[in-house]
Symmetry: C2
């Protein structure tokens, strides 16, 4: 029996307390904002390093400033290693669980761990949200070896280059390549994260097993028509950019079937006066799916639809691709272990895709990944109202501990 | 033969030259902005007063600062009076013909006039656009006796009360009631104005006879849904405010048939990020028609449609009426004279409604009104690109002079 009899419930209370203490490490008074590399992130990392040491781990920071703790089984150096973790940075005016929960649950599981036939490393990545430099997954990309060195020249809003920020944070921009984790001995990477969506709440379940991380296309679409007086231009002579955009908005929703999600989150009208026929309408289109071919087909359909709408109305349309990332599948083997662990913990097993990106997507470059989602109140994230219950956190600790057990058999 | 042989073409050149000179009277360097009562409007009024005097008119300013010139027939005081005119204020970054053209064409017609069995008064209204105080038709409302004295307490963006602005302009806020024009001796009010729309250009005609000024409803509609992550909230669990707004935008366009024009000119989305499902969408709805019953039926239909869209999507909707004004019909008798004058001038007669408001709508409180529209390039107004041709202005002078002739028979 590798885990102790310290109850998940007791450890869950500690996790919530630690999340509160991390939330006090902020760049801004009165709200939680912790971007890459300011003193607030250093303070949060110091707390985690301390807890790692208390748990008997060898704790350090790597060259980008990720916090890493390594637990070795009592018998001596292990032949293989399981990676756990998530990130410690936040968006502006953030909640206190997005990222941190995964680090703290991993720590709690190590605290319960008495023996295993492998080592465990817990990562607290220094940047996943990418708020400071527009580079999401900075921390995990260094570990996974996908970091783009050109990004070192990027400057933040204050003009500070990323390389200087890394050095000021105690890291070493010249040593980033060496911080790549060797993949040979890895068992995989398992990440616990709040769901950031309403599915588990709707299903009345504490946790869910993630099937993969959806691929995503983002585009900006601009319809250009002719402005005119809302009272004096007959309908037949109009070239109204907003009506075209509205047709595309409804088409985007209608195209979202069979697991595809599609969203228009931004729409701006120019000149934007109640008595002026819109001359330009600019909108964002966000399309996500676990299946890359299904996503790409939907994007192609919508692009053609935008063209047809513009053509039928005598408008110009420009479709600009902003981003395209492929889907990442979770490891079937690790999913099987997670599902068994959920069942062992007494919960009903539900699978769900992740529509949001996570460090696990980047870590998939090193090997197998798996994710466990934890129910969050109202599906709300990136907001101070982000909330989890101690009961659900206890289930997450229980399930993750059981996965460690199962992998050690 | 009451009019001279001074050709409309020669007078049209003078009108365009005078429009250029008025355009130099601006509050802002490099562009034309002439709101109610700053020195720029005084300077423009002084120019017009001078031209009125040169034309043999008795010229003055009234208590609100309107410029008024009165021409009496050579034989002595006339028993009745025909009113002509338009406004001298502008929007910000305006064109040089919206308003001014009607004053200058009226002046040109008086300059051609040698005899008539009635007097002619030409008005240059001090405020029609309402840019400074949000009170459109300020000048004509004083003349028509519909001025609301409560407006005197309104303050502009600099905190200057309207009463103080009137006094500083040389007017007399206490004497506004007395500036009302007595209606007993009036033959009517005829206004020449640029079309501000594309119909005459599409018909390849210099002028058109206005049938009436459309009634207008303006409303602000807000759909309120639930924000969410664009990747993590399944389509079935969304309450997207923008998709609802988009359905209403297309419904507004579809409802605009049989002379009704309907426009959504503003649409704002909150929070307005590409990866966030819209929580709120606020849009303007502008509906106009010459027939009040048709307009009111359309507004009722659209309001019900908004309610049905919100209901089917589990959203809240608020429909706020911002403005509702009834249609004003032009006088059939004066329209007949205008149409005959257009035909006499050798042009094809076309009737068209005015979708924009004009001083004539307010002046209808004093008696019969008529309007002649002049083709403007691209239908563009409220823009420095506003343009008319000398040929079309000559036709407008010719037609208006012929109306004076016809009314004098």
């Amino acid at each position: 029996m590798p885990t102790t009899d310290v109850s998940p419930a007791a450890l869950a209370a500690a996790v919530l307390d630690r999340a509160d203490r991390l939330a006090a490490c902020s760049e801004e008074p009165g709200r939680l904002t912790r971007r890459f590399a300011p003193p607030a992130l250093a303070a949060a990392g110091d707390l985690v390093l301390g807890w790692m040491g208390d748990a008997g781990m060898t704790a350090r920071r790597d060259a980008i400033g990720n916090v890493v703790g390594r637990w070795e089984p009592p018998g001596g150096a292990a032949a293989s290693t399981l990676l756990l973790g998530s990130h410690l940075d936040t968006v502006r005016d953030a909640g206190r669980y997005d990222g941190m929960l995964g680090v703290l649950v991993a720590l709690a599981c190590v605290e319960r761990l008495r023996d295993a036939p492998f080592a465990v490393e817990v990562f607290g990545f220094a940047d996943e949200e990418g708020v400071r430099y527009g580079t999401a997954y900075l921390g995990s990309s260094v570990v996974a070896g996908t970091f783009d060195r050109d990004a070192l020249g990027r400057r933040d809003a204050d003009g500070v280059a990323m390389a200087d920020a890394i050095a000021a944070f105690g890291g070493d921009p010249a040593a980033l390549d060496g911080a790549r984790r060797d993949r040979e001995d890895l068992l995989g990477y398992v990440e616990v994260h709040i769901e950031q969506g309403p599915v588990l709440e709707a299903e009345d379940l504490p946790v869910g097993v993630v099937t993969g991380i959806a691929g995503q296309n983002r585009a900006e679409v601009t319809f250009a028509g002719v402005p005119g007086h809302a009272g004096t231009v007959p309908m037949a002579l109009r070239r109204d950019a907003l009506v075209a955009a509205a047709e595309l908005v409804t088409a985007v929703e209608a195209r979202a079937t069979d697991g595809l999600v599609a969203t228009v989150g931004e729409l701006r009208v120019e000149p934007g006066a109640s008595n002026v026929i819109p001359a330009r309408a600019r909108l964002s289109v966000d399309v996500r799916h676990l299946d890359d071919a299904a996503r790409e087909a939907a994007v192609a359909d919508l692009r053609e639809r935008a063209r047809a709408i513009a053509s039928s109305r005598g408008l110009d349309v420009a479709w600009t691709a902003v981003q395209a990332t492929g889907a990442v599948a979770c490891s079937p083997a690790l999913m099987t272990e997670l599902e068994a662990a959920v069942a062992d913990a007494g919960a009903r097993v539900v699978r769900l895709p992740s529509g949001a990106g996570h460090d696990a997507a980047v870590m998939s470059n090193l090997g197998d990944i798996a994710m466990l989602f934890v129910r969050c109140a109202g599906g709300i994230s990136h907001n101070p109202a982000e909330a989890v219950t101690a009961q659900d956190v206890a289930v997450a600790i229980d399930v993750t501990s059981r996965v460690l057990d199962r992998l050690g058999r």
